[in-house]
Symmetry: C2
Subunit: 194 residues, 2 copies
């Protein structure tokens, strides 16, 4: 990573910090790019050189978790079945999320409450499923011909992500609950976690 890349990262972090302060104070949609740029001490135009759009500030955090989950899934024993492996892989995020609940709870709630973030929520889902599906495929019982293997892996990965989301929103809305228990409940209701 070059010197300029470091500087760029530092600036991105700085801008994001100001943005999240504003989001927390006034909400996502009510915060304009002008306000963020002003707070960060740069012009509107320059903001768009660091972030493709306002939503990238939010997506940034979500992509990170996706990568964590994907690497965790890759490190599960090879003979473990898809559903329990996904459940186990989710644990890394769960721990981090409960640890930083004062940050992740508002994020989850914002992601549900702000209509302007729906596209971002969908983007996150797609990215996660895209990352997890290939790793899930190998853990599925093989069918004879295997003519269309992708669909099954995508379905399983997407279902697991859907369960995670259900657990996350329940956790965010009900302080004091255990994210791990909620996820066990959610995934266990769909298929046995064996």
């Amino acid at each position: 990573m070059s010197l300029r890349d470091h500087a760029r990262e530092a600036i991105r972090d700085e801008v994001a910090k100001h943005a999240w302060t504003l989001f927390a104070a006034h909400g996502y949609e009510a915060t304009t790019v002008d306000q963020i740029a002003d707070a960060a001490g740069m012009s509107r135009r320059t903001f768009f050189r660091y972030f493709a759009g306002k939503d990238e500030l939010v997506l940034e955090r979500l992509v990170e978790s996706g990568n964590l989950i994907a690497t965790a899934l890759g490190q599960r024993p090879a003979d473990e079945a898809a559903w329990p492996a996904l459940r186990a892989a989710f644990s890394v995020t769960l721990a981090l999320q409960e640890q930083h609940h004062e940050k992740s709870r508002p994020l989850q709630l914002m992601l549900r409450a702000e209509p302007a973030l729906r596209a971002t929520a969908e983007t996150r889902r797609r990215l996660w499923v895209e990352r997890l599906a290939p790793l899930t495929a190998a853990r599925l019982p093989s069918t004879g011909a295997g003519d269309r293997p992708d669909t099954r892996a995508v379905a399983v990965a997407a279902s697991a992500v859907a369960c995670l989301e259900a657990a996350q929103i329940a956790w965010a809305e009900n302080p004091g609950t255990s994210l791990g228990e909620l996820l066990d409940d959610a995934m266990g209701a769909v298929a046995p976690l064996a």
Copy 2:
């Protein structure tokens, strides 16, 4: 329904017809509201009195399917388990979709390919899960205390919808495949359809 409501419906249909012609020709994002309004012979401002936004033209169709599925689920035998009941309820849409494949295939592809429709895809998912979760709850094995019954139902309904989506996109991308078989594959990989 009053006289004015009928007229309103007729105009909405007329506008939608023109809009879909333009979408098919140039894509969703590339089609501006001005063009739609012009084609429909009304002012831009009046378009927004009939549709909350450009995306409502797309959402309209998707909500319809959701209602069909929900009523179908309500009519399944009461003692049927959640997963097979959801699979069976999806059949109504499947049949309609394969019947009008020349319309529904481009819709599915557009929904995946156009970034501007990601928020719409997310909205559809939420609406569907919201409708299906309450009907799913009663078909779940009861837990002793039942302290948080919603989460499980939401997880199961959301997983089923995720499977449906996986099947739909595979079907849209691979002409000649059977939507029913793809859905059986997808849902069967997550949990036994018993």
